[in-house]
Symmetry: C2
DNA sequence: GTCTATACCCGGATAGAC
DNA sequence: GTCTATCCGGGTATAGAC
């Protein structure tokens, strides 16, 4: 996506956000090997040393990308939760969140890995952002922390194995998701629905 | 563990296995940054170019390490399954496998990542090894592939988030494991046990 | 806020002598 | 099967001019 890249490099935002957007576009398009100071600077039409006038070091630059990713994910999940609530209060909402989570990760595997496969630099993240991203799932888990963490692990595991190409080629991933979601669905939620009919 | 390293470098096996063992010890001790041809050769008391007389390239060397890891994991899980069967056929076996899986990964996080966070080079893996490692879980899932994949995803997600330091510091991981295992336990397995008493 | 020049580190891999 | 010498690539980051 050179269009995305050029758009990010041209946008008239403050320079830090512009740098983060460019880095993100580069990461999406070419993966982590492309996330170097030279490449990012090049995409912005400047030289690598100039970046250090706007960002202290590479870790800070990556933190900007990660933070933007979590903000985006939080919005996506919140929208999915609101949408899923309309259908069938119980399992519909959880399924909607799961589906949005998977879609987010699969569409940007490199960013997803950057966001999840290393210790979170919470000191470089806007306050409350992590909680905002976790909120929809926390609510779907009835604010049971252990349950929420188990559900998150399931989703993260499914997504990680998918984007890392670990499932056999012919594996039916939709079916695996359904099996997991059924296991985690509030006991009786589906059955009650059926019994009522 | 310099002892492990020296032992690996001295063992009188064929040279390929010796190289793989040394690489593995280096990986366990210092992480992936240490897994370079120069470092591995150095630990063996030779120079980097000499390695190419025994291994075609670095990818092949890594494949040897990964293969050894899966053989080890397969044995560990099989033993845990046999052990867990003794207690309470249903949930006891699954819990035993999960516990062994977690212990394996947490004890060697760098190796676990090397084994799971990249596409599996099945062409460089001994035939049947992947299936052997998956067998205990497949059986515990009643040979329901979707269910087995969901359970694997849960376990992989829990382990990945733990070794990547993503859970909040005060999170109770044992409780999260119990919540997940309870969700995946064959419906009625625990209840039946309780009802029988 | 950008540049050039550069320091300093690292990596995988090959050629050819012994 | 080991060595030395080397190629060729890459990375983060700083100094100092403009």
């Amino acid at each position: 996506m050179p269009d995305t890249l050029q758009a990010a490099a041209r946008a008239p935002k403050d320079r830090q956000a512009q740098i983060a957007d460019t880095a993100r576009a580069l990461l999406d398009a070419e993966g982590p090997q492309a996330l170097t100071m030279r490449r990012i600077a090049g995409a912005l039409g400047i030289k690598a040393p100039s970046l250090y006038k706007h960002v202290p070091d590479k870790a800070a630059l990556e933190a900007l990308v990660v933070a933007a990713g979590f903000a985006e994910l939080a919005s996506t999940l919140a929208a999915a939760a609101a949408d899923g609530a309309g259908h069938a209060d119980g399992p519909g909402k959880l399924a909607a969140i799961a589906s949005a989570y998977r879609a987010y990760a699969v569409a940007r595997p490199h960013l997803y890995r950057l966001m999840t496969q290393q210790p979170l630099r919470r000191d470089l993240l806007p306050a409350g952002l992590e909680a905002r991203a976790a909120q929809p799932l926390a609510e779907a888990a009835g604010y049971d922390e252990a349950r929420a963490r188990a559900m998150w692990a399931f989703a993260h595991g499914m997504v990680s194995l998918e984007i890392d190409g670990r499932f056999p080629p012919q594996a039916d991933l939709d079916q695996a998701w359904r099996a997991g979601l059924a296991a985690f669905a509030p006991p009786g939620a589906t059955q009650r629905k059926i019994a009522e009919d």
